[in-house]
Point group: C2
Chain length 144, copies 2
DNA sequence: TGCTAATTCGCACGACTTGCAGATCACGGG
DNA sequence: CCCGTGATCTGCAAGTCGTGCGAATTAGCA
C-alpha cells in the first residue's frame, strides 16, 4: 500500500473524495503488519476518531482492495483479513495463537505441479502452518 | 476420506451413531471431486432423501472434519468448501468461473523461504490462481 | 462562496452457520 | 426380539459478518 499522501492523490484521480475518515484509515493501515480484520481496524480507528462507522471502514477497505492497495486474505478462521503489503509474498500462520506473518518465497517456479491439465496458473498463494516461536515454547511445557 | 463402510465403523467406534442421513452423506462425499459447499451437499442429499435437514448436513460435515476425514477449505469467495481428499495435495482455482481442482506438488521442501524467524513450519497449503481450460478459450474471444 | 456528487452513518437485511429443544431413532443388553 | 438410553434429527431462533439503502453531511471544483 502506498503512503497516505499518495493514496489521497490516487483517490482524487479516481473521483473519490479524501475524507478525514479515509485519511485516518490510510494512516492506520500504512505499514501495518498485523493483518487486521475489519473489526480490528474499526477498534483502532474508533479510538482515534470516536463515532467513525464500521460501515465506513468496510467501504474504505473495499475501495483500497479494488485499487489493488490491499490484499484480501481468507483464512481457516473464516475471518477476512487485510494486508497492506501488496509486494509478492506469502504467509505463515501459527496453529495455536493464529499469529500471521509475511514470508517471502523464492524458486516458486521450480515447483513441480501435477494435475493442472490445461489450467493456466498465473500466481500462487502459499500459507504455511506451524507454530510461532512463542507457542513453541509453550507447547514444549504443555503439550496439547 | 475413507469408504462409507469404514466410516460407519469409525463412527461407531467413537460412540457416534450411523444414521441413514449420515450414510447418505458418506456416499455423496466419497470420491466427490467437486469441493462442494454445505448448501451444494444439502441440495444433492435432498434429492436422494427429501426432508433431510441442512442442520444435519452441517452436523455431519463437522463430525467428519473433526475426525480428519474432510479438509475444510476457505477461499476468496468467502464460502466454505469441503474436500474429501485428505491426501497431501493443493488446489488451483479459476479466477473467472471459480472452478476448483486438486493438484499435487513435489519438491515443496526445496522452496527457499525468508521471514520464518523461528516459525516452525509443519505444512504448507498452496492455492494457484489462473484460468481453467474452458475460461481460457472464453477469454481469448472476450477479453475482460 | 455555492453547487453537486460522493460519503458517512445507522439500521435493516442477506448469506452462512450454530444453539436449542422436543420428537425420534440407533443399537447394545436382556 | 424387545427395551432403554442416549445420540441424532429437524425446524426455528439467534449469532456473525458483510452489504444495501436513504437522509443528512461534506469534499472539491467553478
Amino acid at each position: 500500500m502506498r503512503s497516505p499522501a499518495e493514496l489521497s492523490t490516487a483517490f482524487r484521480e479516481r473521483g473519490l473524495k479524501v475524507t478525514p475518515q479515509r485519511q485516518l484509515l490510510f494512516r492506520v493501515l500504512h505499514g501495518n503488519m498485523t493483518h487486521p480484520t475489519a473489526e480490528a481496524l474499526f477498534a483502532t480507528a474508533s479510538e482515534l476518531m470516536p463515532g467513525i462507522s464500521l460501515r465506513t471502514v468496510y467501504q474504505t477497505l473495499n475501495d483500497l482492495a479494488a485499487m489493488g492497495e490491499l490484499q484480501v486474505l481468507h483464512f481457516a478462521s473464516g475471518s477476512t483479513r487485510f494486508d497492506p503489503n501488496v509486494v509478492d509474498h506469502h504467509h505463515a500462520q501459527c496453529d495455536r495463537c493464529g499469529d500471521l506473518r509475511d514470508v517471502y518465497v523464492q524458486r516458486l517456479d521450480e515447483l513441480q505441479v501435477h494435475g493442472f491439465d490445461g489450467f493456466a496458473s498465473r500466481r500462487a498463494s502459499i500459507v504455511f502452518g506451524g507454530l510461532c516461536p512463542a507457542c513453541q515454547s509453550i507447547s514444549d511445557n504443555n503439550p496439547t
